[in-house]
């Protein structure tokens, strides 16, 4: 069923560190902060800003801004 497309009942079961982002002007934005709040794991939330050119869906047009923010979070987690 379409209703199955929801994280409301399962987000708390995520154990691994999780990076949640959304972009300020994304017309398809859908509750990144709600997901972040529901997580019980180590977590990070980033709202990408239009003022840095990263306000569009998936930060289109500013991949490097996303890469820097996300990989600077991820690299230490995966450090040996």
């Amino acid at each position: 069923m379409f209703q199955a497309y929801s994280l409301a009942d399962v987000a708390r079961n995520i154990r691994c560190p999780t990076f949640v982002d959304e972009a300020e002007n994304d017309r398809r934005r859908g509750g990144g902060k709600d997901l972040y709040n529901a997580l019980q794991c180590p977590k990070e939330y980033v709202l990408f800003a239009a003022s840095e050119g990263a306000g569009e869906h998936c930060e289109a047009g500013t991949r490097e801004v996303f890469f820097q923010r996300m990989f600077d979070w991820l690299d230490p987690i995966l450090a040996r």
């Binding site: 497309y5 994280l7 691994c16 560190p17 949640v20 859908g30 998936c58 040996r80």
Partner: protein, 324 residues
């Protein structure tokens, strides 16, 4: 942010194509292509992008024949992204043969380029239920060292080829292996295998993690799952059940896409969606297309079963909503 087109759907897809710079797009080419397109003309959009891709593909073949491997590879790559862009507004039911043709071309062009990388990009068929899923494995260099690996899952109208442009470069430069793939409802799994989208994405990711576990060049303790666009729902969904992942990234995160869509629908459509009542949903979907010729409504992630309405109709409603 307006890049070129007043129509936000056109402009969004234009930006999406340009986002693949430098390997998947060149800004000047994008502008030259856009200049051929009349506002709101989805056929013109298809012709301009696919026509330019045809030219590039021929140039790539010529370069390759003359032994210019880098030039050939790079032209094949841009052709791939431009073919993918060409059909985006035709991604709807009934299936337009131009979608299938352009999808095949975006795949073929990418795979021609794959063999010209050093080391070559590996073309995968990942075991999944009774079939396989298409994907790619890309290494930062030729070494067989066991490395950290970024497993990438996309949205409902992208391809595993597009994921190479949008996410792989950042990971490869930082020493990650990258695996991109199409799950049900995406890319080749949808267009060629007719597998519809499914909500329980752990059923899709777990076989891919199984595959990664078998590779000696993957450090199985250091696999991170990236989800972009609708993957911002799919990746956390999978991570809630697949606990071998070391990290999860929800890029354009979604929390409750079902509820979000319900809010956007008129009540009768929302309840028809809950019942999956195709008799109500089909005419609604058709009327969306009629009232928004630009939108084509993208019977996204559709598959060829009635289940297609679960997600695609919501996208349709978003567009309807944006006009209200």
């Amino acid at each position: 942010m307006t890049i070129y087109f007043d129509n936000p759907e056109f402009d969004g897809q234009f930006l999406r194509a340009l986002d693949c710079v430098p390997l998947g797009a060149q800004i000047g080419e994008g502008w030259a292509i856009a200049a051929q397109i009349q506002p709101g003309d989805t056929t013109g959009w298809y012709n301009a992008w696919s026509g330019y891709a045809d030219r590039l593909y021929q140039l790539a073949v010529k370069s390759r024949a003359a032994g210019h491997r880098v030039s050939a590879r790079d032209a094949f790559l841009r052709a791939s992204n431009y073919y993918r862009t060409s059909y985006i507004f035709m991604f709807a039911l009934p299936v337009d043969p131009r979608v299938v043709g352009a999808y095949d071309k975006q795949t073929d062009a990418f795979q021609k380029a794959a063999g010209l990388f050093e080391p070559p990009i590996e073309i995968l068929k990942i075991p999944y239920e009774n079939t396989t899923l298409p994907g790619y494995f890309i290494k930062p260099d030729a070494s067989d060292a066991a490395r950290k690996t970024l497993l990438c899952t996309g949205g409902y109208d992208g391809t595993c080829e597009e994921l190479f442009f949008s996410i792989a470069s950042g990971a490869l430069e930082r020493g990650y292996n990258v695996l991109t793939f199409d799950g049900p409802g995406q890319g080749g799994a949808l267009v060629r295998q007719k597998l519809p989208m499914r909500a329980d994405w752990e059923k899709v990711v777990t076989p891919v993690v199984d595959y990664l576990f078998m590779r000696p060049d993957v450090d199985s303790a250091r696999i991170a799952l990236y989800g972009g666009s609708f993957g911002g729902y799919l990746a956390p969904r999978a991570a809630a059940f697949e606990h071998r992942l070391a990290a999860c990234i929800a890029d354009a995160a979604l929390f409750d896409p079902a509820a979000l869509s319900n809010k956007m629908f008129p009540p009768d459509i929302a309840s028809a969606l809950a019942r999956n009542d195709v008799a109500v949903l089909e005419p609604f979907s058709t009327s969306c297309k009629r009232t928004q010729p630009n939108a084509s409504s993208l019977d996204a992630a559709c598959g060829c079963t009635a289940r297609r309405h679960r997600w695609n109709t919501s996208r349709c409603s978003r567009r309807t909503h944006s006009l209200m």
